[in-house]
Amino acid sequence: MQKFEKLTGLVVPIDRSNVDTDAIIPKQFLKSIHRTGFGPNLFDAWRYLDHGEPGMDNSKRPLNADFVLNDERYQGAQILIARTNFGCGSSREHAVWALQDYGIRAVVAPSFADIFYNNCFKNGMLPVVLEENDMDQLFKEAEATPGYSLDVDLSAQTVMTPGDDVFRFNVDGFRKQCLLDGLDDIGLTLQHRQHIEAYEQRRRSEAPWLFR
């Protein structure tokens, strides 16, 4: 997995709450059997004026000029800021793959939906939870300041603004270490092979109907 340590990145603000994974990557693109190539269809229904389908030449499609991702000043953004409950709805990890394929490495919001939050950590993407008041400041500054970027430091668990305001965030210790080291958690779990086997042996006698 790709490591996440520090990132200084251009910010794109999506000033909405409850951004669901259907919006992040619409269902028609989930038919792919690969993990890559979703970036051009990130926020497809908001980003383009026509109806997108897999296999289209996205460079020829009409863009929705009102959508922030199409604004010249946000091109190359690596940090997405949003409102509450980002990533709600479907469990599709394609949502994270699409953000990542587009170039986003961190999402900052007041809250996230559980499954999306989980999925981020499996892909080297950092979801950062900040207070709503702090988010208000980031939105104001990002919208007022072309080229607005943030410094995200996972080790220190901080987000720093260009004006040197520093916001601390919480992150689970195990997940933090996995991101910092780029660890494959299947490999980590398999180090506990004997524990799993011992558990199974015990369960086979306690609850034999669970094993066929």
């Binding site: 000033d15 259907d22 792919s32 709805g89 479907s90 599709r92 506990h192 799993i196 609850a207």
Partner: protein
């Protein structure tokens, strides 16, 4: 002994090991697999040269992409076909049981798990699908996972988890006639909000929940995720055990007796402590209809589309305004005055036999309104379809002007050919009314099967409690 909630009990029984900070290796008893969220997981296994830990714990079915029309010629859409074929070949390669789309047992993964007895009380059940919460109706700890976690479960039979909080939803007293599990859960989400359960596992309890059939309980647990909850649970009782008895994957003989004995304990202890409890009075719950683009945007059938100007919170207000614009609705409009283009009865929320019976009861002897472009019924599984046909329900639907389709997810998420066109308005028994969910630009109103059926006949929403 420390009093435990149902969630505590199922969780504790599945802890393989845990760290002092609560990071836990949780054992997974049942892994349901479908075609959309698994191909990259199988690919990951292959690339790392790993084998599935325990193939008998997995059960696979194609449901999202499958056509609901005649399947004998296969799938037209080549991209969908490749994905469905990938599931079949991956399962074949690793020896995992798969119901292909020509199998009578094929259907929506959350319908077939319980139907086959593959979902048992007290199990941990996962699937790369958020509506896995459905299986909590059996006192199973069931939740959706991403594709990386699908791979993790395939490779290790475990997940790395932290325990969530305990939240109890008490639905006291009894609902009135015409009010269903769907209305209960929509009313709950309307109250606590679409993030109201975030970080928690819900336990639905109270007389109104006990009175629900297993189908109704599955509907309630199914939509736990729409409140942001990790999972939703309901305690085991005789109804649970009667439902499971005799199903193909359920234990038999002495094992069955032993299992039933163990399942008696699958309820929260009387003095168990919940982090949060929210009470509802079932007698006040009316048939519900969503008006907006999230399940929390819901009002009773005798209500009106709300006015964003009356919302104090600026972000919420903007969200409401955006939803109204997308939905093409004006504040103050009576729900009963909203005309419809399509009606969809189906999905993992409401496509079980009881749902079809409830809809057929309303429809019997009526015709679909001439103003409707389409009304369709998509049974949850081949076996549900067969059962419905043996009861003559298909005839009732067909004679009324409904299309009677083959099982699958269909227009709940419109990954196959079944979808809304831009601007079309649909009464749907599914679970999500997000923008574009049923087709780009499509407008979804979530309702119960009986409400959808009545709306199909009237051409607009009507209060099913006043249906003749």
């Amino acid at each position: 002994m420390i009093a435990k909630t149902l969630y505590d009990k199922v969780w504790d029984a599945h802890v393989v090991r845990s760290d002092p900070d609560g990071t836990t290796l949780l054992y997974i008893d049942r892994h349901l697999v479908h075609e959309v969220t698994s191909p990259q997981a199988f690919e990951g296994l292959r690339l790392a040269n790993r084998r599935p830990w325990r193939i008998d714990a997995a059960l696979a079915v194609a449901d999202h992409n499958v056509p609901t029309t005649d399947r004998s010629q296969g799938i037209d859409d080549p991209v969908s076909r490749i994905q469905v074929e990938a599931l079949d070949s991956n399962c074949q390669e690793y020896g995992i049981t798969v119901f292909d789309m020509h199998d009578l047992r094929q259907g929506i993964v959350h319908v077939i798990g319980p139907e086959q007895g593959a979902t048992l009380p007290g199990m941990t059940v996962v699937c790369g699908d958020s509506h896995t919460t459905t299986h909590g109706a059996f006192g199973a700890l069931a939740f959706g996972i991403g594709t990386s976690e699908v791979e993790h479960v395939l490779a290790t039979q475990c997940l790395i988890q932290k325990k969530s909080g305990n939240m109890r939803i008490m639905v006291d007293n009894q609902v009135g006639v015409g009010v269903t599990g769907k209305d209960i859960v929509l009313a709950v989400i309307g109250e606590i909000g679409m993030a109201g359960g975030t970080g928690h596992t819900l336990e639905f309890a109270g007389d109104a929940i006990r009175a629900l059939s297993m189908e109704g309980r599955m509907t309630v647990c199914n939509m736990s995720i729409e409140a942001g909850a990790r999972a939703g649970l309901i305690a085991v009782d005789d109804k649970t055990i009667d439902y499971v008895r005799g199903r193909p994957f359920a234990p038999k003989g002495r094992l069955w007796e032993q299992a039933v004995q163990a399942w008696q304990d699958l309820k929260s202890d009387d003095d168990a402590v919940f982090d949060r409890t929210v009470h509802f009075d079932a007698t006040t719950i009316k048939p519900q209809v969503t008006w907006g683009t999230s399940p929390e945007m819901v009002v009773p059938i005798d209500g009106r589309v709300p006015d964003p100007e009356k919302e104090d919170d600026a972000i919420k207000r903007e969200g409401m305004q955006r939803a109204l614009e997308y939905m093409g609705l004006q504040p103050g409009k009576a729900l009963e005055d909203i005309p419809l283009d399509k009606v969809f009865i189906g999905s993992c929320t409401n496509a079980r036999i009881e749902d079809l019976r409830a809809a057929a009861n309303v429809i019997r002897g009526h015709k679909v309104a001439a103003s409707l472009k389409q009304a369709m019924v998509v049974p949850g599984s081949g076996l549900v379809k067969q059962q419905a046909e043996s009861e003559g329900l298909d005839k009732i639907f067909r004679e009324a002007g409904f299309e009677w389709r083959e099982p699958g997810c269909s227009m709940c998420l419109a990954m196959n050919a079944d979808r809304l066109e831009s601007g079309e308005r649909c009464a749907s028994t599914s679970n999500r009314n997000f923008e574009g969910r049923q087709g780009q630009g499509g407008r979804t109103h979530l309702v119960s099967p009986a409400m959808a059926a009545a709306a199909a006949i009237a051409g607009h929403f009507v209060d099913v409690r006043e249906w003749d």
